[in-house]
């Protein structure tokens, strides 16, 4: 039984991995990669590691791949090919496969309810949440703490990468004569304060700076 499951899920993992590499559209690659993750999670279950299997689905197939797909859709650089006609016959195939899936689920629920011989309890607790938690918080406490610091560094790094590094605020208007000054230029006491101070005209900027300013138009008059 385990051998059959291994062959099924190993074949699924290898097939999805090859599909991922051979796809040219990154979105299809991402979906194939989710297939690999789910197949590996199933293998973890057959290896009596239910906690790792659950984390695999939640963290990898859930969090990380959602992030990747979000970035793919945000950047949206796929070649604008027209949708091909051959996708149409996939709709009845999808409906049929969904029906098979529902039937399988119903069969499993039915057979579990009516089964006489329950599975013998796993005598070893390796792979259960209890043993993983005990190991993580006693023997391997230092790696666990280092991991938390690593996650903090990742958060700070991602934020500093995503920040726009321009002095101009998003609301700065580009009109002739407009000036954007740093606060420490306007006010000598605010040293190091780089808050942007926006002015509508050159005359207003000169007034802020305390400089005597006469525009060309004034001189002509």
């Amino acid at each position: 039984m385990t051998t059959i499951l291994f062959i099924i899920f190993a074949g699924l993992a290898i097939g999805c991995a090859i599909a991922m590499v051979s796809q040219s559209n990154p979105l299809y690659s991402a979906i194939s990669l989710i297939g690999v993750f789910v197949a590996l999670a199933s293998l973890y279950v057959t290896l009596a590691a239910p906690f790792i299997a659950a984390v695999q689905v939640i963290v990898y197939a859930g969090a990380i791949m959602v992030l990747v797909i979000f970035v793919i859709m945000l950047l949206n650089v796929e070649h604008s090919e027209p949708r091909r006609k051959r996708l149409k016959f996939l709709v009845p195939v999808a409906i049929g496969m969904a029906a098979i899936l529902i039937a399988e689920t119903a069969f499993i629920l039915y057979s579990v309810q009516t089964s006489e011989n329950k599975l013998a309890g796993n005598t070893s607790d390796v792979g259960l949440t209890h043993s993983i938690g005990a190991g993580l918080f006693t023997t391997y406490l230092l790696p666990f703490e280092i991991t938390s610091v690593l996650l903090l560094m990742a958060i700070v790094g991602a934020m500093s990468l995503a920040r726009r590094t321009t002095v101009l605020s998003a609301t700065a208007r580009v009109v002739p004569g407009a000036q954007v000054l740093a606060m420490d230029i306007v006010n000598p006491r605010a040293v190091g304060d780089l808050t942007a101070v926006e002015t509508e005209t050159t005359a207003e900027a000169a007034h802020l700076l305390g400089v005597d300013f006469q525009s060309d138009r004034d001189q002509e008059e």
């Binding site: 990669l33 590996l40 390796v126 391997y140 996650l151 958060i155």
Partner: protein, 101 residues
């Protein structure tokens, strides 16, 4: 007779090779990123298989830590990808062959 440890190691080696080949032949930076994730998963499979066959929980603890590193890598890596795309308007790694902006 169930599956042997060597089967899992062979599967892991195949997946790792596919991931490495993907990193080499792909030119889209997001696709390369996903191939790296596949290689990390192949390594995770060896950890879990050995942990299960030797009845030692240490391997699964390391899988947990590898997953955390992968999550951190995803956050920072996708941030870098977005920054590079903002500057170069391209996801092709050949367009970002010099680190200077």
């Amino acid at each position: 007779m169930g599956p042997q440890l060597s089967w899992y190691l062979a599967l892991s080696a195949i997946l790792f090779t596919i991931g490495a080949v993907g990193v080499i032949i792909k030119r889209n930076v997001i696709a390369m990123f996903m191939c790296i994730e596949l290689m990390l998963n192949a390594v995770n499979l060896t950890f879990v298989a050995c942990s299960s066959f030797f009845q030692d929980v240490t391997g699964q603890l390391f899988v947990f830590i590898v997953m955390t590193v992968a999550a951190a890598e995803a956050a920072v890596g996708l941030g870098i990808i977005i920054t590079v795309f903002r500057n170069r308007e391209s996801l092709n790694v050949d367009d970002a062959s010099i680190l200077k902006l």
